[in-house]
């Protein structure tokens, strides 16, 4: 509870500083809207031309897209400290100030960054979810709402965990942006479509190493009453937890890496 209060207070303060540059902030938020709108338009154009994708209807595709974009941009909104700012925190020595305070380093990193511009991207994602839900004729009940929330939360942990790879590299002052982008942004691009359209190696990658298939596709397809690979209901509840597993693993790695932190930035 105490940590939660600290987090909301920190984020409130960051918002204050963002709003000191109002016009630039509005401009950037609009740019984000156009960006995610463009991504969405591509899916609409694809549905318009191809109608369906290996048994998935247009509505299904919108739903997958919405799940991914809500999870991804919520992570960027709240986890900017990890998804964007961390290498700079190392370079400017802000990590040093975190280390001399009696709080968890990861907590402080997360408290140290937010990206409110993503709010428009999330709005596009929510619109896609609603559209997908209507077109797929999903009949909602409490269990489905629970699975939806669980799936988004776990996908967020997974995405955060993947971005932590870059954070860990930057502790050793190794630049890895482009390589890590392949798995993070690449994962987003690939997994906003259903996983079973991909050949086995790609499927394995996104099931075992970056398990978007487990945190997102299994529960989402169950919600749409089209369970992936025909897996039983309980899998929709259990497999998303792999997101937490990845996050915990990466957190441990992160703290191990901190022991070798050299603090060269100044």
């Amino acid at each position: 509870m105490d940590i939660f209060r600290l987090y909301t207070k920190s984020i409130g303060m960051l918002l204050k500083s963002h709003l000191q540059y109002t016009s630039s902030f509005i401009m950037q938020t609009l740019a984000q809207l156009v960006m995610e709108g463009g991504e969405m338009m591509v899916v609409i154009l694809i549905v318009d031309r191809f109608e369906s994708l290996k048994g998935w209807t247009g509505g299904n595709l919108y739903f997958f897209f919405g799940m991914m974009s809500v999870s991804f941009y919520l992570t960027e909104l709240f986890g900017r400290g990890i998804t964007g700012d961390f290498p700079m925190m190392v370079r400017t020595g802000r990590l040093d100030t975190f280390l001399v305070r009696p709080r968890g380093v990861l907590t402080q990193v997360l408290c140290g960054g937010t990206d409110p511009r993503r709010i428009t991207c999330i709005a596009v994602g929510v619109a896609a979810l609603i559209m997908g839900s209507r077109l797929s004729g999903i009949s909602w009940n409490l269990l489905k709402v629970f699975v939806l929330v669980e799936s988004i939360a776990m996908s967020m942990l997974l995405i955060l965990g993947l971005f932590m790879i870059e954070a860990i590299f930057s502790i050793f002052s190794v630049k890895s942006v482009e390589l890590v982008n392949a798995i993070t942004y690449g994962g987003r691009s690939a997994c906003q479509y259903p996983i079973d359209i991909y050949p086995t190696p790609l499927r394995a990658l996104f099931t075992v190493i970056a398990p978007f298939a487990l945190t997102l596709h299994v529960p989402a397809s169950w919600i749409m009453d089209k369970p992936l690979y025909g897996w039983p209901t309980w899998t929709a509840f259990v497999t998303p937890l792999s997101g937490a597993v990845v996050f915990i693993f990466m957190t441990v790695m992160f703290h191990l890496a901190l022991r070798h932190y050299r603090s060269t930035g100044s």
């Binding site: 600290l6 207070k9 000191q20 040093d96 100030t97 280390l99 009696p102």
Partner: protein, 321 residues
């Protein structure tokens, strides 16, 4: 046992060399930043820690404040090992890095303090009392609502000090606190540090290049070079042992007056004035200046600044490093 105990502390850094032509992998080099340093500091001491750039000053401070993990040796602060019990340890310390800020750039400094209150879990009443005390001592009252980025360098340093002392740390590390400050700011900063040390018994360890800082503040000084401790003791002893000569040039309005100078001062005439060389350990600078002033109206006076680099250079010569 002393408050800070450091024993044979070692730290190596691996540095990648520039890639040579025709080689696929870069060669690596190990740099011994600390080659086994030992010292102890008692509670309430005010210690100056000096040495040339790259000598290992910051490395020591960073290990003692829990940022770096050493490669060998041991260290405890108040019985805690900084890199093992980081959170418990850093509750009791404050750190000010001269060139980087721990406050938030775009928001009023009072907001930063309020967040620090939550980070350190300071009780509200305690926080209010301490903030009042510090803002009086540091003259921050007027500045509380100003964002950090709009403060001058001197004001910023005062704001940083306040932030690092809110939680009443037992130990304060200062990494080159006076760098870039004007003379007035330097003086008031030193006054404050003396006050904090006296009033609350806060142990202070400061690294600096400015001998005036040391002379004004520290009863004890440690010198480090090439990762080794070269000297540990009183400032006067240091000055005596590795005495360097300091130069003053003076010009007078009228003709050169007769100067009665104590022994050990060399005097030579220049075109329109005189140049004096003296040893500050034998003859305090203030005394020499008053002698010069009493002799006549001074039109121009240049005092060669005293800095640690001269001293260290002399020490290296003597210790053959």
């Amino acid at each position: 046992m002393s408050y800070i105990e450091v024993n044979n502390l070692k730290k190596d850094f691996v540095v990648k060399k520039k890639r040579e032509k025709g080689r696929l992998l870069r060669e690596k080099d190990t740099v011994n930043a600390l080659k086994g340093i030992s010292f102890s500091v008692d509670k309430g001491e005010l210690v100056g820690y000096i040495g040339p750039n790259g000598a290992g000053k910051s490395t020591t401070v960073k290990i003692l404040s829990g940022i770096l993990t050493p490669d060998g040796g041991s260290a405890t602060v108040g019985g805690l090992v900084p890199w093992h019990e980081r959170k418990a340890h850093v509750k009791n310390i404050g750190v000010v890095f001269g060139q980087r800020s721990q406050l938030w750039w775009d928001v009023p400094i009072i907001d930063s303090y309020s967040l620090l209150k939550d980070i350190y879990r300071i009780p509200q009443r305690d926080y209010e009392a301490r903030l009042k005390e510090l803002s009086e001592a540091l003259q921050l009252d007027e500045l509380m609502k100003t964002p950090l980025r709009l403060l001058s360098l001197g004001q910023r340093m005062r704001a940083e000090l306040c932030g690092s002392l809110l939680h009443r740390p037992e130990l304060l590390f200062l990494d080159e606190p006076t760098i870039g400050l004007d003379a007035v700011s330097k003086l008031s900063l030193r006054e404050f540090l003396k006050w904090e040390n006296k009033e609350h018994g806060t142990t202070i360890m400061l690294t600096t290049h400015d001998m005036e800082d040391i002379a004004a503040l520290c009863s004890r000084v440690m010198v480090i070079g090439h990762g080794q401790k070269l000297f540990d003791g009183k400032l006067n002893d240091l000055l005596e042992r590795f005495d360097t000569v300091r130069n003053v040039s003076v010009k007078y309005d009228a003709a050169l007056p007769e100067l009665v100078l104590p022994e050990g001062v060399e005097c030579s005439k220049t075109e329109d004035g005189i140049k004096l060389s003296y040893k500050p350990s034998k003859l305090p600078t203030a005394k020499l200046l008053s002698i010069l002033q009493d002799a006549g109206n001074i039109s121009e006076l240049t005092l060669q600044p005293e800095n640690t680099d001269h001293l260290i250079a002399a020490m290296y010569k003597e210790l053959d490093l």
